[in-house]
Symmetry: C2
């Protein structure tokens, strides 16, 4: 299924809405590094995201070591950012 790519203005609005997120250099993804008190807290967050991801059938690229979680969101079917990434980024903020 093809997914609509965000227009430039939609992307700019998203970045304005979510100032903690940065546009990746190639413009095709948004990234954020989360830091927690410890692994337990980081893993609790990641589990909530995992449940969201499975339900939404949209999955993050992410790296974890101890209390740090580095997230990259992009939509391969859109060759860039889509509304799915926007929704997931917003969901992550509610899990903090």
């Amino acid at each position: 299924m093809t997914v609509a790519r965000l227009t430039d203005s939609e992307r700019d609005a998203l970045l304005a809405e979510l100032p903690e997120w940065q546009l990746r250099e190639d413009g095709l993804a948004i990234v954020r590094t989360f830091r927690f008190a410890d692994f337990s807290e980081a893993w609790g967050f990641m589990n909530r995201v995992a449940l969201y991801a499975e339900k939404a059938d949209h999955h993050p690229e992410w790296f974890n070591v101890y209390n740090r979680v580095e997230v990259t969101l992009t939509t391969h079917d859109a060759d860039g950012l889509s509304a799915r990434d926007a929704a997931m980024a917003r969901a992550m903020e509610t899990f903090l």
Copy 2:
């Protein structure tokens, strides 16, 4: 707490025991990429590892996207590989 670094012969024995694991270029870590059927299966594996990690107070560096899990094991307190990494790698194999 200082943790003993594996000797060269201990490291070589570990790599012989776990042929799916590779020594990182700098020799300070072992790495393995796991591939699963889907995100659900990957996440199930990662949760088992997370419980192990928290109990052992030794945490992996890992990257996940959908069904792929890239793991790096090293012990900062040993400036390289220790028995903790060997134990965690063995544990991961039992979770497959």
